[in-house]
Symmetry: none
Subunit: 194 residues, 4 copies
Amino acid sequence: MAPVGRPRSDASHAAILKATYELLQEEGLARLTLDKVARRAGASRSTLYRWWPSRGAIAMEATLDTINREMSLEPQGDNALAEYRRLLKSVARAMRGGTGAIIAGILAECQRDPETLRLYKEKLVGPRRAEIMPLLQRGLADGSIRADVSPQTILDMTFGAIYHQLLLHIPTEDAWMDGVIDILVNGIAAKPSR
Amino acid sequence: MAPVGRPRSDASHAAILKATYELLQEEGLARLTLDKVARRAGASRSTLYRWWPSRGAIAMEATLDTINREMSLEPQGDNALAEYRRLLKSVARAMRGGTGAIIAGILAECQRDPETLRLYKEKLVGPRRAEIMPLLQRGLADGSIRADVSPQTILDMTFGAIYHQLLLHIPTEDAWMDGVIDILVNGIAAKPSR
Amino acid sequence: MAPVGRPRSDASHAAILKATYELLQEEGLARLTLDKVARRAGASRSTLYRWWPSRGAIAMEATLDTINREMSLEPQGDNALAEYRRLLKSVARAMRGGTGAIIAGILAECQRDPETLRLYKEKLVGPRRAEIMPLLQRGLADGSIRADVSPQTILDMTFGAIYHQLLLHIPTEDAWMDGVIDILVNGIAAKPSR
Amino acid sequence: MAPVGRPRSDASHAAILKATYELLQEEGLARLTLDKVARRAGASRSTLYRWWPSRGAIAMEATLDTINREMSLEPQGDNALAEYRRLLKSVARAMRGGTGAIIAGILAECQRDPETLRLYKEKLVGPRRAEIMPLLQRGLADGSIRADVSPQTILDMTFGAIYHQLLLHIPTEDAWMDGVIDILVNGIAAKPSR
DNA sequence: CGATAATCGAGACGGTACGTCTTGTCTTAGG
DNA sequence: CCTAAGACAAGACGTACCGTCTCGATTATCG
């Protein structure tokens, strides 16, 4: 049963997300106003408020595609730790671009608006972790990762370190990432001989 | 050489910081307005603008005492790693209170105002790290910490993990902190036999 | 061609003018702030700024009705000079009330804001003069006013005298007005026998 | 008995008046702030407040010399009306320059501050009228001015007309002034034959 | 086909905070 | 006692966004 009334305009929806993403790259989330988005998208402010609960929500949806693409990992046959190492370096690299700044902005927005935080956890943190988790599970299963560490904590430390740099506007250099990974892998790797 | 003109009012200065701290605890930095601060402090807005460059700067100064007190570490004679472990748990504990939320707010403010970020690094991150660094240096010196890890990176990972939880509004439970410390210490500890 | 967007609120518009007029009577234009107007009118400051370029403009519009009503002249069949005499006394009388003080305030505001001066000439001086001019023209036509005086100058002198008293906060008493009219009429009346 | 303490600084006093006069010419009374005066005069704001009750008072004192000089009339042996005519034209001419604008500003200021109005009447209107009055008295005495007109009213009309033009920022052209004088003199001149 | 209903744009509305400016008072040190 | 310097409380200014609202116009489904 099709809904009654004029259907939602896909063109408008897309234009809004496009405008938002452009503005995010140009000025960052802190300087983003819904009015500027609406004007650039040729939309009206009411349309924005109709479909999104908050500025953070629009920013998140506008960035999700990019984020997912840049961070995505096609699993390769290596052992878990090697693969994890490769993954982290690709994440760090992705974060050096504009995407890192956008995520930092979203994280900041989460401190002003609980709804944005909720969405952030649901749409960004959750899926990302769900994607990586199997890798760590595999490591736990095959014994390459110590059995007594929580994979969640591993992820907390990983993303914590990366995001902390982002928030301080310090680029996540490869060398730095190597250091982090080194400590991390040493910390979680099962000790062969004990 | 005595300064000319009416001297700065200590009473006003103190009242402003007090009012700011109270408001930070009650509503958080996101809801803090200079007007509310001025009104509660019995000060005028111009006085605020005279002495502080931004909202973030006031918030930082108002919180610095508390932060420094809560995070301070009186060094004890243990070995470096044990002491570090104790330190981190005390930090995590401090962050569970209102102070954690305030710091998360400041970190968010840093994303909107470069000056606040500069002050944050200078007044908060710098001193804190300078305070802890000797501990890690001691560990490096006595061989309890692997010689090939950067103490800066250790701190990045430590605070990164803690602050990441803060930003996601997840309390830094003792058990979680134990897990982090465990990975960290294992990751940085020199392996006795290899 | 119907205007697009939400239409202007007449209620708000009226409430603003009403509030302005009340405040003008209570405290005068010098003490009038847009904030007080907005608050009393239950409007927002942005609405005021949207529709009026300046404080003076609001004050003028708010007073125009009253001024026009109080100064209006229903022409009577007398000869021109007699009618002019009656008109001036009615104007002087009107100016003894609060309206005179308001006009003095507007005239003062004109010295601080060119736009207000422009509006004053366009909305107040112009119409008023246009209304009176036919009377003087009639006098000129029927020979009761000397042909070599400019009606504009007559008006300059008339209103100049009255407004000068207003600005010095000297009530325009009937006796004084009689003196003015006497000089004026003698000065402009055609001499029958020469 | 000599007064105790540091004597009033004439240099400061003079510098303040000079700075005020310059600023009045450059920007007008409406844009004049005591702060700008103090800064340009190298004085402190408290010194201004010590010696003058208001902005208007400083402006008035700063302008009085100029005004008195520009408007001054050295009486000549003509008959009263001819002399009055000459006087008015000189006043009108003086008012075409910056002085006219300054007086308009003072008149405006009088609407916001009663003290300035009081001073205006006392220091400016009074002396000026006292200076001209003998002229009119002479005319009354020698019968060239009608006995039944009040000299005060004559002055009201004269200055009223001139100031009204000033307030509307209309230059007091010689031709216009001639028209005014013509009406006035005709209005007040004793009719030889009746 | 016409009624109904939801969407869209435009833009006005009441609010709130901003950062700046000016006012009049005060508190120093020093002449 | 006066002066320069300058801090202070107060409060208005004009601007910028916010989230809501009220329109006319558009575009679909359903009777």
